[in-house]
Symmetry: C2
Subunit: 662 residues, 2 copies
């Protein structure tokens, strides 16, 4: 096997330098004002006209010669002849001679002779309407904006490098600019590698090991966010010639080419060889986790960065090294880094010998969890002002998992020489963006269809369907706000099996419901399965759920009862079931295996069977309970969940086999 | 005069409620994944396939039956027959029987029979290549990602209301989704009112009181920023029928119609009548400054908000009341409010009786300005961690000025019953966006073409060309970092005129240059002006600069010298000059008046005359000096400016009449 080894890894600093040495900066371009928002000015803009372009009334009233009002007031008004009127958008047809005035509206041209405006509230029309009493004294310039007072011709209005927000658009409008020269948008080509990748929307053949191409769209979205213009190139296959031609083609059309997609060694090898032979390789391999197999170089006419294949690695390398270069090329300022301080909720080992960027989730603890050492709290990026209560937990499902992207809020950087982060240790979390806020509710536990619907009505909840057993374990560790558990009645269960963990957790019960569970079978139940005994006595293939699920606990209870009835050992019953150990992860997975023809019966819920159009053999009911961390019952998200659980009847009505708890 | 009076003003809270009562929410829409970034999910997305869709090797190595490796290690390797290979994207053609293994690459399908992968680094090929020595023991599942382990079919992937960042795009890609249902983008029509308004890019007739339409593009950019889709409607004129038809047409095409543009009473009256008669008026007039004349209602089929005419007022009302409604309709979360604490640099009166939103600028003070009371510092939104040093100064050039938009960083809200903000008082500034950072350098003073070019090379400077005298005044107040002054040699000047303020300021001199000043005359000098005496002795019309400018000080010096020579009083000389009191604001303004035929000579610089193709009569040289606040010399922006001034020779070389200071 010939595989590229990355023995001489570069440091993160060297990788940064290598990327900085590439030139991605495109030429400036001229855009219409209506499309200029968010762009960065490439030119310096001087005013080439006065704004306003004339002496302008800034109030409704009468244009006067200020001198005519001197010394007058409420008790001794000046009386002036009205000689006409000037409205906004008109050329004045009158001249204000001594002793006269002209009606004027806001925005109108101050007529010749006048040097001030008296506001209408300080005037009175005489009965005949020909004369105006002015009940105040004004100074020259009062209620007048002189020509050029906003900005005068020749003055510097905006400098190069200015980001154009609505405010700058306003000034450019005032100057009459309908187009501006802005920094060009770096064009970033994304070349997808790996014969196993299929574009989303196309048909996937899992049996051939195909997977959807995650990195292309993810990185494209990242390019857009950084101010670049992403171009997806069609996949060319992993042979050397085709890949080489594609990379060279992309380099001619783009300022930067990224290759991304595959974790397969052959695809990586091909790209590596193309860059070495048809470009220039500046760096391969960086001492960072995730992201080690990063390439930096040039190919034909553009800069090149090879991203690792795993989505988490690819996005991490992109965010850490590539996005800053795209922003720089686009002239965009570095975004204000949003950092939140928190405490590690659990110990995290890190004996890697390279810098680790650990994706982490955040959860706001309750008030009683507050601890003394609050001096370092940054507070600003923390909406609730409770940085001292922020718990930080690692989200590490492996670089291959895309879900860990959405289950994390940011990244903790762990130095190469740090062996571990202790539970309770203060850490700084770089949020994925300054807008990231910790979820209002962090729940873990059973994947229950009714609970899942309740989540739809909550604001920014996070829920990890890790199963009832694992959910309770985490609740005991104190990290999540709530755990959802399902399973047989606890008192009975713990009395029988001794596994009464649920009952012993010091949690606050927020309520729940029951759900009907049993065996999901093909539609029409062709093998005429009647109950659990058939799985033992007949030649039926079964698919189980994993040991964390409440369904599995209920099944275990039913197996124990059956063993008691038969007077045999529980293990004997289990051993007779073909598939008791064939456990799958999600609540619909056994049913889907059955429908795919891989099994005759699967552990599942009536609601799942109905949803998927399968048959169902009921075995019992189990309780689903929502349990809260006792320190968090006052937290807004937990309170909102409690209300949702209390009002869950509408949701339960729509789900087969669900009943409110008595 | 019939004008709408806003006597019964609503409170800001009532205005907010009125806007909230409008329904702007558009229908959800389906967008391709490539265009989904930044949108908000309208559907709940459940996985409808397992990810990965098969048991997947997560490392390069050999697929084995774990049991075959049990008990083996470096000293006692297991030897397995190699029966084939599986690459990513291939359907396995082998089965791993006991005692065998298959080469496997990362991402490939685990072949039947195998339940683990041994990483290649722990294996050795035998000499003949047919067998593999496995130097470790692995457990079932090692280096394998099981089908559905990332996310399983039927599991909840993303909830409605989720904002789609690159991370969520990644998960949607993994699920094979190439389109998603997202919250619709509210369409916001912008109807421009006021006969005096001209679209940017079109020809402007200032003599008729025309001005460029600032609000349309500014508000459109604000709509876009808030997540709406702005539509500019062509201006229809201010007559009732045309305006009514236009508003009704816009209402049929938009979720919200904004009218915006004119300050003229007639235009405002027309819109007011249209809404009253062809729609429903919910609110007119709100007790807030700026922004009082706000309208809220419905017109035909859509929601309606009438924005005030002045740009600052329009954008303030838009940001305060309308943008939140657009964000809500688009399903966007409220942006994290960025607030910075600072101290008022000067006293600000506010006896208005209504809530005031004061646009303010920020400047970071120097370390020696730090003051004791730092406990309330929020810090987070303050890049330098120096909130206690942030000085806040009001930017109030009147609502009619567009430049005050770009000279401010945010807004301080002053309650209706607050009479004033004291200098030194702590205030909270709501930044215009969380990305706003105080300028790196805040300068004030003379509008000098050379200095203006130096600014182009600095990162985010702010410079207000208020003139030398006003610049020095502000430097003495301690607000800006630097002041740029121009004028006659100070020692002479102060000795002669007693006006030696510049010399007496305790400022640090960062260097400077000299510039040639004199009279700008039409090209070819048709009136054969030879010097200052001609302006006194002949019938020539002159245009002066304002009293704050250094040029005016140099002229004053020259006038004094001439008066001395003639043995007359200075006032006599000035009185004989037609136009000594005709002063204009910006450094090019007198020259432009001359070129427009309004005058025979104007005070100005040689560089200006050359730039505008005018003639020039030199009268002398004056020094331009850059002076720093002594507390701020260590500030990075000031240090960068000092370097720029020291290296200014290249800039000076390109400017006529400029010389380095000796």
């Amino acid at each position: 096997m010939s595989r590229k080894e990355f023995r001489d890894l570069s440091t993160p600093a060297e990788a940064r330098e290598a990327v900085e040495s590439l030139d991605l900066t495109p030429d400036p371009e001229t855009v219409p004002l209506a499309e200029a928002r968010g762009r960065v000015l490439a030119e310096r803009v001087d005013a080439d006209l006065d704004v306003p372009g004339f002496d302008r009334a800034s109030m409704d009233g009468y244009a006067v010669r200020a001198r005519d009002t001197f010394g007058h007031d409420e008790t001794d008004p000046a009386t002036l002849d009205r000689v006409g009127a000037v409205h906004a958008g008109e050329e004045p047809s009158v001249t204000v001679e001594p002793g006269t005035c002209a009606e004027i509206s806001t925005g109108a041209v101050l007529p010749d002779g006048a040097d001030a405006v008296v506001i209408v509230e300080r005037t009175t029309e005489t009965a005949d309407g020909d004369r105006i009493e002015v009940r105040t004294s004004v100074a020259p310039g009062d209620s007048v904006m002189f020509a050029g007072a906003d900005i005068a011709a020749g003055a510097r209005a905006l400098g190069p490098g200015t980001e154009l927000t609505p405010r700058e658009i306003g000034l450019l409008s005032a100057l009459g600019r309908d187009a501006v020269e802005v920094r060009g948008t770096p064009v970033v080509g994304i070349v997808s590698t790996g014969d196993e990748l299929v574009r989303p929307g196309e048909e996937l053949h899992g049996e051939r090991g195909q997977i959807y191409d995650v990195n292309s769209y993810t990185v494209a979205a990242g390019v857009e966010e950084a101010g670049g213009d992403p171009r997806l190139y069609p996949h060319a296959g992993d042979d050397y010639e085709a890949m080489g031609d594609l990379l060279v083609e992309a380099s001619e059309e783009c300022d930067l080419v990224l290759s991304s997609g595959s974790t397969s060694a052959s695809a990586v090898d091909v790209v590596y060889r193309v860059i070495e032979e048809r470009g220039e390789l500046l760096l391969h391999g960086v001492s960072i986790k995730p992201g080690k197999p990063m390439l930096v170089g040039r190919v034909a006419e553009s800069a090149y960065v090879g991203l690792p294949g795993y989505p988490v690695s690819a996005l991490t390398i992109f965010r850490t090294f590539v996005a800053p270069a795209i922003r720089r090329a686009a002239g965009r300022p570095e975004p204000r880094t949003a950092t939140v301080e928190g405490r590690m909720a659990v110990r995290e080992r890190s004996d890697e010998g390279r810098t680790r960027l650990v994706p982490v989730g955040l959860v706001e603890g309750g008030p009683s969890e507050a601890v003394g050492d609050d001096d370092g709290a940054t507070g600003g990026a923390d909406a609730d002002g409770a940085a001292g209560n922020t718990l930080v937990y690692p989200v590490d499902k492996g670089s291959g998992a895309t879900t860990s992207l959405v289950e994390a809020d940011g990244v903790v950087t762990v130095d190469a020489d740090t062996e571990y982060l202790a539970a309770g240790e203060r850490v700084a979390v770089d949020l994925f963006s300054p807008d990231v806020r910790p979820p209002t509710l962090f729940g873990v536990g059973e994947d229950d269809p009714a609970f899942s619907r309740l989540l739809d009505g909550l604001d920014r909840p996070r829920y990890l369907a890790v199963g009832s057993r694992e959910g309770l374990r985490r609740l005991r560790e104190g990290v999540p706000d709530v755990a959802v558990t399902a399973g047989p009645d606890e008192r009975e269960s713990s009395a029988r099996s001794g596994d009464g963990t649920a009952a012993r957790v010091d949690a606050v019960d927020l309520g729940g419901w029951t759900r009907e569970w049993g065996l999901v079978v093909p539609a029409g139940n062709p093998r005429e399965v009647t109950g659990l005994a058939d799985l033992i006595d007949r030649d039926l293939r079964f698919v189980n759920r994993d040991a964390n699920s409440g369904l599995r606990a209920s099944l275990g209870e039913a197996v124990a009862t059956l063993a008691d009835e038969r007077g045999v050992d529980r293990r004997e019953v289990v051993g007779a079931m073909d598939g008791f150990d064939r456990s799958v992860r999600a609540h619909e997975s056994p049913a889907r295996r059955v429908l795919a023809g891989d099994a005759d019966a699967g552990l599942g819920l009536r609601v799942t069977a109905e949803r998927l159009g399968a048959g169902f053999v009921p075995l019992g009911e189990e309780a689903v309970r929502v349990r809260a961390n006792p320190d968090r019952t006052e937290k807004a998200g937990v309170a909102a969940l409690r209300r949702a659980v209390e009002g869950a009847d509408g949701v339960l009505d729509g789900l087969a086999g669900y009943e409110p708890l008595e």
